[in-house]
């Protein structure tokens, strides 16, 4: 097992090197980082030249790449460079954003997974029952909704709820501007109040979409295993229907769902871009949208690199989980 992990990590290194070149190419393709600055007002050639020198753009792209890569490996991820943006340290900014995103994503994903598995499994066991039709219909509806519309509508509903709460004198519970700032201060009641108020809408909007995905996955996977020969064998043994479903069909049917979950979690470390933007969470998603809009090259570059590393790591994790759950797969 350890040997397998080491080998996979070694295989991942060339992949990540190529990925860094690809992301560098993408970043470079975004164009001249000073284009907007130059358009702002007339600049003298000397001003322009010194500005290009300051941000390191007087060097060739390969040199810039090596410069960046060397820094990335040793922990110096450079700063934001576009004039007027200030000079934020890329590494500490990404670290901060990752923390914000994690709070949101892990919470939402776990709820979505548990809910999706329960609904999907029930839908498969009671195939073509009213419950199954309702769950299928709901999932299709969620699949067909643009995520940002769900978020926008939820935000609108949250504001209405706040107004109503204020009218009855209960105060504005819902927060639509990021995680609670005061953290864990005040009494337990206050912490619960501020956390739930800040989390409820973004978590709901993420759960709505992800839950639909997991429930469909669970349903399809369980229907597959319910029709499998070994489940027929389990019935022929005279096991109770509950045991047949739980111990035989569900146990095997879980494997693909858990694998997809691990892969998804990796992807979502890159930020729930839409949700974060709508609800004012300054996490990974909001960070990258901001950086792309401002054409901040080092921020975009390091962000993509970190995400790539996390995704590769979670793909490996998914494989390990798969091998652990399915004895037919032997790693090594």
């Amino acid at each position: 097992m350890l040997q397998y992990v080491v080998r996979r990590v070694l295989i991942a290194i060339p992949l990540l090197i190529v990925a860094s070149i690809l992301t560098f190419a993408l970043t470079t393709a975004m164009g001249d980082p000073l284009a907007d600055w130059k358009l702002l007002k007339a600049r003298t050639p000397a001003e322009v030249a010194s500005e290009y020198h300051r941000i390191g753009w007087d060097r060739s792209p390969p040199q810039r790449y090596l410069d960046w890569a060397g820094g990335f490996v040793t922990g110096d991820w450079k700063t934001t460079i576009i004039p007027g943006n200030g000079t934020q340290d890329v590494r500490s900014e990404i670290g901060r954003a990752l923390g914000v995103t994690l709070q949101l994503v892990i919470f939402a994903e776990v709820i979505a997974l548990l809910l999706g598995m329960a609904v999907g499994a029930l839908g498969a066991v009671r195939q073509y029952s009213p419950f199954d039709y309702a769950a299928t219909g709901a999932a299709f509806f969620m699949f067909s909704m643009p995520l940002f519309c769900v978020a926008v509508i939820l935000k609108f509903a949250g504001i209405q709820l706040n107004n109503w709460l204020e009218n009855i004198g209960a105060g504005r519970w819902i927060v639509t501007s990021g995680p609670p700032r005061d953290g864990f201060s005040g009494g337990l009641g206050h912490i619960l109040y501020s956390y739930s108020g800040a989390f409820v809408l973004p978590v709901l909007s993420l759960v709505a979409i992800q839950f639909a995905l997991y429930s469909r996955f669970q349903r399809a996977s369980l229907l597959d295993t319910l029709n499998a020969d070994y489940v027929r064998t389990a019935r022929a043994k005279g096991l109770t229907p509950a045991r047949v479903v739980v111990r035989h069909a569900l146990r095997t049917g879980l494997i693909p769902v858990i694998t997809v979950f691990a892969l998804d979690l990796g992807l979502l470390f890159g930020g729930a871009i839409i949700t974060e933007t709508v609800f004012g969470w300054r996490g990974m998603g909001a960070l990258i949208v901001d950086a792309i809009t401002k054409k901040e090259p080092w921020m975009v570059q390091s962000w993509m690199m970190i995400t790539a590393i996390v995704i590769v790591a979670f793909t490996l994790l998914a494989d390990i989980v798969y091998a652990y759950l399915d004895p037919r797969i032997r790693l090594g």
């Binding site: 020969d229 070994y230 389990a234 022929a236 043994k237 035989h248 004895p327």
Partner: protein, 373 residues
């Protein structure tokens, strides 16, 4: 097997004296599907004595497996069952699911066709056997595991102790089927339904598996319903053979009687499809066409469209299953569903009956071969 009757069967069972283990009467199974009503089993009647080995033979889609599934209560949800299945006097059609569950695996057990997929890949073989035992016995896990190892030993799996801890994918096909047999006999059932138990296996292990199955069921004095499409498989092991076609029984007789004097053109055709040492170098004689779809059964005799002896009356009405031969001697009892059975002398050669379509092509098979090179 045939010359060594299992315990529980007297040398010459007298009809009505011995309570049949299983009595199926006028069993019909229909499925309502998107494409219409599928009449998978139609009016099937037969009995099985304790310890008897009954071969049920027919092409795929003729209702063999559905009959078995009906007995186990394992039919799909959309199935409608009519008629009666009595097991030791207990009616199974319409019985409470809980009552059927208590029978399944304990008194009636089943072996399936594909041992590759019939065992759960994520549990060890021993675990799955122990589970089968515990489903019907309140015993501690340790005892169930010991029982599982014992059962694996019984079916001739070497090092059963070590093997029990392995996963199905670590077993070969033949070993897995042995494990399935072990699972079937672990609760010492009275009836084992074996649905094409050797079809998915290499020819070399087929005979071993059959032998194991018959020997082991003799040990636990279980009757066997051996479902197969291969007359060669039943020849060596069955006491009685029942041929099914188009969802119903078309001929039933003792194994020797059936092989010697087939009274139904379909059986003749099946016999013509069995490879035989005497026919080396000559082509097998196939039955042309495909079995009828249970969605659209032909009118009259269901075998009519493929039958070389088809006559006007065959298209008009489906023949009854008539008993011929000595009715007072069940050993020689012979039933057939054919309007023209009396014209089949019994020694009819399949080759002569079915080869008309091949005339001019296989007149001289050797010449054919030469030409092909």
């Amino acid at each position: 097997m045939s010359e060594q009757p299992a315990p529980g069967v007297s040398e010459k069972p007298v009809s009505g004296k011995v309570e049949p283990l299983l009595a199926v009467e006028d069993l019909s199974v229909e499925f309502g599907t998107d494409d219409g009503l599928v009449r998978a089993v139609r009016g099937v009647t037969f009995e099985l004595a304790p310890g008897e080995v009954l071969g049920i033979v027919g092409e795929s889609g003729c209702g063999k497996s559905v009959t078995a599934a009906a007995m186990m209560g394992l039919l799909p949800r959309n199935a409608r069952v009519h008629g009666s299945i009595r097991f030791q006097g207990q009616e199974l059609v319409g019985a409470a699911p809980e009552a059927l569950r208590a029978l399944r695996g304990s008194r009636i057990s089943m072996i399936f066709q594909d041992p590759m997929t019939s065992l759960n890949p994520v549990y060890t073989v021993g675990w799955q056997l122990a589970e089968a035992y515990q489903a019907h016995h309140r015993v501690p896990a340790k005892q169930a595991r010991a029982k599982a190892v014992e059962a694996l030993d019984q079916v001739g799996i070497p090092q059963p102790d070590r093997r029990a801890k392995q996963y199905p994918h670590e077993f070969s096909g033949g070993m897995r089927q042995r494990a399935m047999i072990a699972m079937a006999i672990i609760n010492e059932p009275e009836l084992i339904i074996a649905d094409e138990p050797t079809t998915a296996l290499d020819v070399t292990v087929q005979a071993q598996i059959l032998e194991t199955l018959v020997k082991i069921s003799t040990d636990v004095s279980a009757a066997i319903m051996l479902i197969t499409h291969d007359l060669g498989v039943v020849a060596g092991v069955a006491d009685r053979v029942q041929v099914m076609y188009g969802g119903t029984v078309v001929e039933a007789a003792g194994v020797e009687e059936l092989f010697a004097h087939p009274r139904m053109p379909y059986t003749v055709g099946l016999l013509g499809s069995v490879p035989h040492p005497e026919l080396i170098g000559r082509p097998l004689t196939p039955i042309h066409g495909a079995p009828p779809s249970p969605l659209h059964l032909p009118s009259g005799c269901t075998f009519g469209p493929r039958c070389p002896l088809v006559a006007e009356q065959c298209r008009e009405s489906e023949p009854e299953l008539v008993t011929i031969g000595a009715a007072e001697d069940p050993g020689a009892a012979h039933a057939t569903r054919c309007h023209r059975w009396s014209e089949l002398s019994g020694d009819q050669s399949a080759r002569r009956m079915f080869s008309h379509a091949e005339i001019g092509l296989h007149e001289d098979p050797a010449a054919d071969l030469v030409e092909e090179q």
